[in-house]
Amino acid sequence: MKDLRLIVVFALVVGLVPFLSHSGVVLNWLMMALFATLLSQAWNVLGGFGGQFSFGHAVFFGTGAYAQALFQMSWGLSPWLALGLAVLLSALLGAALGAVSFRYGLKGSYFALVTLAFAEVFRILALSVGFTGGGVGLMLPLSESLGNMQFSSRAGYVWLVLSWVVLALLITAFLRHSRFGAYLQAVRDNEDAARALGVNPFAVKCGATMLSAGLMGAGGAFYLQVFQYIDPNLVYGSHTSIAALVGAIVGGMGTLWGPVVGAMALELLSELTRNLFGELPGINLVIYGALLILIMVFLPRGLVGLKDRVQSKSQRARQPLGLAPRSGVDTISHPSAGDSPIAATPARGGHSDAA
């Protein structure tokens, strides 16, 4: 399968970089870029393929981070075991939040708002509650070893995060070529039509939320391992939620490589700005926000969609008039050009009332 081949190539190419370059700058950037990629991929599962836009995905990130910290520090577990548990915990949280939201038929803007609210609630709780260290945060003791998931050079982290990025890619490929993925995208594109064809929207959406949350939680756990310090504003803050979604959207929602392209492009841009303007607070996000707007106006399918446009234009040029252009093979359904609008009224498990 074409997807799998590309994923393998990607894994090999990126995996080889630490052998080719020992530059701290390059490896650091690569690690950050892969990290951002993982976040965007996580968001993409629910947002791009599921069509449910979460504006508070940090809620899973933070939970993963705190879980990773507490399992190690309070329960003395190995970080590798903690990672598994953190992912599981995040996935369960995803199931819970998803179940609650979807049980009551939340869609579109309402869902986005609720996720935002949940992230904020968790952030405030983390600030107020004792065992999270409150505003002071948690610090992971330095102890470099493979067993401790702490590496002296960035290379170790690159491979660690890369392996999860590859996992996320495989999961995304699964969404593109499986019944579950077909059902998920059907629900995204037209929930009522999907129901009429035997799809259970609630189950499908909850499943996607779990996958998305688990991946995001892994990202949070990695954040702890790399930076060794977390606090509520860092891990439950909106900039994490924003980074995740902007990466996916700029790259191309609902595609396999969109989040990769998008996240890497954003990280490149961040690096560029840092070199040009120095460390200005907030400049990153200004650019992210501006890009979001620009992409929405000019290129709703994201950067990946650019390739499609070029492809179809050249196809149109080659084909005689009257034949419609073929849709690109690499990209599938993209919600921003789809038909289902956000429910203008609070949707309660969509019943069609047409008389």
Binding site: H177, S178, R179, A182, Y183, Q185, A186, D189, N190, D192, A193, A194, R195, A196, L197, G198, V199, N200, P201, A324, R326, S327, I332, S333, H334, P335, A337, G338, D339, H351, S352, D353, A354, A355
Partner: protein, 258 residues
């Protein structure tokens, strides 16, 4: 008996959309549900297929009580409905659209896509398989709607105005497709306004007016039934027709009085 409604009622606020509806859809049939606009026909479909819950009454499918069962469960049991206003998965190709329905009985992606191709052929969409569904013409979309429903391998397919918006030639092309479906073993209940189709295809017909059943029986008897005529033309119009008939000014084949 495939589908049975017993005393089904449904209101929206103060509006009684469907009142005390009872009917029985036989197996291996092609029947029609007709009536003037606003009679509640699509509501009946929604009530049958799990999109709406009846306030009163029961819905039985293949002898099983499915009243209040969720829409996707109804589809799993073999009762699939289509939509009056077509709802394609606009960004997915025709093949992918149909495959979603095919997946109901086929877990493998490859198999579902292949089956989708077969269904598309049956319905005459074979040339458009890779087109994004959002770019199809109205006639093609209607066929897609039909194909999608068909791919779930239903026992009973509820077609909601599948001929609406088609020109006469397109309608003529669709009729044999529908007949083919029934010959293949799928029962069809269609809501239609295109009388030509109803008369040509349906054996049984139910006429709904303002939420109530005013006629149930063989299609041939429907057009001369007084209550049906009144429902469509109003009491005054019906009276005029009767007067014209008895005066003999408009020749009408006497298919029996009512």
């Amino acid at each position: 008996m495939l589908l049975e409604l017993r005393g089904v009622s449904r209101s929206f606020g103060g509006l009684k959309a469907v009142q005390g509806l009872s009917l029985q859809v036989p197996e291996n049939s092609l029947s029609a549900l007709i009536g003037p606009n606003g009679a509640g026909k699509t509501t009946v479909f929604s009530l049958m297929s799990g999109f709406l819950k009846p306030d009163q009454g029961q819905v039985l499918f293949k002898g099983q009580d499915i009243t209040g069962l969720a829409a996707h469960e109804c589809a799993k049991l073999g009762l699939t409905r289509t939509f009056q206003i077509v709802q394609p998965f606009a960004n997915q190709s025709v093949r992918e659209n149909i495959a979603v329905g095919a997946h109901l009985h086929l877990k493998s992606r490859a198999q579902a896509l292949a089956y989708a191709s077969d269904v598309a052929e049956q319905v005459g969409l074979h040339g458009l398989l890779d087109q994004p569904a959002g770019e199809l013409t109205v006639a093609a979309r209607k066929r897609l709607e039909l194909a999608r429903g068909l791919s779930t391998r239903p026992s009973l397919l509820l077609l909601d105005e599948v001929l609406a918006g088609l020109n006469p030639q397109e309608i003529a092309e669709m009729l044999p497709v529908i007949q083919g479906i029934v010959q293949g073993g799928v029962s069809v209940l269609m809501i239609e306004h295109v009388m030509q189709a109803v008369m040509n295809l349906a054996r049984h017909v139910w006429v709904l007016s303002q939420g109530e059943l005013i006629f149930a029986g063989p299609t041939e008897l429907m057009s001369t039934d007084q209550s049906v005529i009144e429902a469509y033309f109003g009491a005054a119009g019906a009276a005029k027709l009767r007067a014209a008939q008895s005066a003999g000014s408009s020749p009408r084949p006497n298919k029996g009085q009512s």
